[in-house]
Subunit: 378 residues, 2 copies
């Protein structure tokens, strides 16, 4: 989850893109189709307009010491406490909560689900604060991470406070869905923790020791779980039955995995002019991202070469070495696999969604949002 | 909260001890009065019997990676995952939940409040896991702390998971008090975070820069808040009205402050044969505990001497220097103040309790537990 939605605007890395259940949408140039990114962008903007006042009110309720760190993390204050214009992220998760509520229960459900949307965003940001401490990441949303500014202890405490705030919002919500939603969100937190644990544990192991199934399970727990939970909470607030809630959870999970696959492709082959990161940053960090694990477990000659490269000591700024490693991952089939797998996961996401919403037109913003996170053109 | 209830059996450091509302209990030798520690010991044992199965069931529901760390932290597993006899602490907080429920609502309320008791114990242990990481404490309940065994990242994650588990228990509880209880527990977590922040911030400041009011406010947030919350949750499950819930919260807070004062006295003048720590451990660590801050702000000659001693570089194992420092704190009135303040806080606790329970005999185990945590004879 650490890497999710924190990056600059990026063009699609030429990923073969799935449409809705076998029916590809026109996608050339500025086509005004519903899935061309404009609908998603509008949805995200509307979500920020709805969510931000509630989110800020929740943060303002914190004691001064915690509020300061939280407002910095969300981009609403500079480190010295003066107001900042803000870059609180793209609000994908709250947008999924609201879109799911709307798709299954109409505008009234969407309005009712606002606190749940804020709670999900708070949980997401609690995990970002903690993951940055654990991973020693120094930059997020183009600013120094909170722990680099306030110290690890305060970043941990602010994360703890945001988790509490999230569950408090639901505990105070008189809506009948708030109890099941809180239980589900708490379960999701536990899954996110297990996912982050698996990620750090994987990174410590030798390149050849990580299986693709493990890497996929880790990504599902670390990235898919909260997207699934966001959709499930929206469904709960729409009064959906258990099967529909599970279908929405499945939709979010699979879309989340598709996103992670694309994010990992960008982490290797993304254009630094768009990603804001040096080319092949993930390779330089010897990260066992999904394309790398796929390449390592491909049984090809290139796999053995990659294992050797990954076993070598890290050389900082070795652009030639990174380019060579990227080529080896590609020769071992890591890029093709990731792109095909992303397409497959998107297809599964659409399939899950159709269990709860058989008519594609009723899926509302959900498909647009899923397209958005996997296409990354806006 | 880091230091609370983690220590060996300790004798009372000759604290002037308050009885119930002006009426001192006989307290010589093995007197069998209700407040001689036997009632509290029996209550705590019964609480462990009730709470442990639920607590273990909650921990068993965690994914393997998180379960392992949690079971180690609670003393139920060794680091290698083999079963351990367990030392999960004295269960003061769950005992307060159950005693408060029982005092205000009888046996049925006590039974109903069991999940809340487990939730409070989970929150307490989440904060211990995180505080140990932040404070770099290496020992807890006579065992290496979780972060020294599993690393900081895993200890942070296990703490996160325990917070989620606590709020999930309440979210799933069909009892009408569970929503208000969850909101209150989440608020308490935020207060605990602010308290821990204040503690670490205070420790970084120069000795003369910390006021006694600040130190007391920090202790109230860090130690008093969760004891108050425990009592308040018990009251909520007994169906008490807002005033009685507030009174129970006040009782727990004041008793928690009394405890912290006594704990701080022990941290300086405690007998190492009983505390299991070297004499004057808090002084060696230059900790700004309550007696030290009181001494520093006493305006006496000894205060100036203490400020100078605290400003000097720490010398490890300098028994003579520590003994001299302890004497200076005492000469500056730090010990007397702490003992008098503890007695005053206990009197306030009893007063708060009498607002909700005018007849002392109906206070049940609450007074016995408050006496227990401040007397520390068993």
């Amino acid at each position: 989850m650490a890497e999710f939605m924190t990056e600059t605007e990026q063009p699609s890395p030429a990923v073969p893109h799935p449409g809705t259940a076998g029916e590809r949408q026109g996608r050339t140039g500025d086509s005004a189709g519903p899935l061309d990114g404009q609908e998603a962008a509008a949805l995200l903007e509307r979500t920020r307009d709805l969510v931000d006042p509630e989110l800020r009110a929740a943060l303002e309720s914190l004691p001064g010491s915690m509020r300061r760190i939280a407002l910095y993390h969300f981009g609403w204050q500079h480190a010295d406490g003066t107001p900042a214009s803000g870059n609180a992220g793209k609000a994908i998760r709250p947008a999924l909560v609201l879109a799911a509520a709307s798709a299954l229960g109409g505008p009234a459900a969407r309005t009712a689900a606002l606190r749940a949307a804020v709670a999900v965003e708070l949980v997401h940001n609690f995990t970002l604060l903690h993951d940055d401490v654990m991973d020693r990441d120094t930059s997020r949303r183009h600013r120094p991470t909170a722990w680099t500014v306030f110290g690890s202890a305060d970043a941990i405490l602010a994360g703890d406070a945001l988790q509490a705030l999230a569950l408090r919002l639901l505990a105070e919500d008189p809506h009948p869905a708030s109890g099941p939603a809180a239980a589900r969100l708490a379960d999701c937190v536990v899954e996110l923790c297990a996912g982050q644990h698996a990620d750090t544990a994987m990174e410590r192991r030798a390149p050849g020791e990580v299986t693709l199934d493990e890497a996929l399970a880790m990504s599902e727990a670390k990235t898919g779980a909260l997207l699934g939970c966001a959709c499930a909470l929206g469904a709960l607030y729409a009064g959906a039955d258990g099967e529909d809630v599970a279908a929405l959870d499945g939709f979010g999970r699979q879309a989340g995995l598709a996103f992670q696959l694309i994010d990992d492709v960008i982490g290797i082959w993304g254009d630094p002019r768009h990603t804001g990161k040096p080319a092949g940053a993930d390779l330089e960090a010897r990260k066992k991202s999904l394309p790398v694990v796929a390449a390592l477990s491909s049984g090809t000659e290139a796999a053995a070469e990659l294992a050797q490269l990954y076993g070598e000591a890290h050389v900082s700024g070795d652009a030639e070495g990174i380019a060579r490693t990227a080529l080896v991952v590609e020769r071992a089939g890591g890029r093709d696999w990731a792109q095909a797998e992303a397409a497959d996961r998107m297809a599964r996401a659409v399939q899950e969604l159709s269990r709860a919403l058989p008519a594609p037109e009723s899926a509302g913003g959900l498909l647009a949002l899923a397209e958005f996170v996997t296409r990354r053109t806006s």
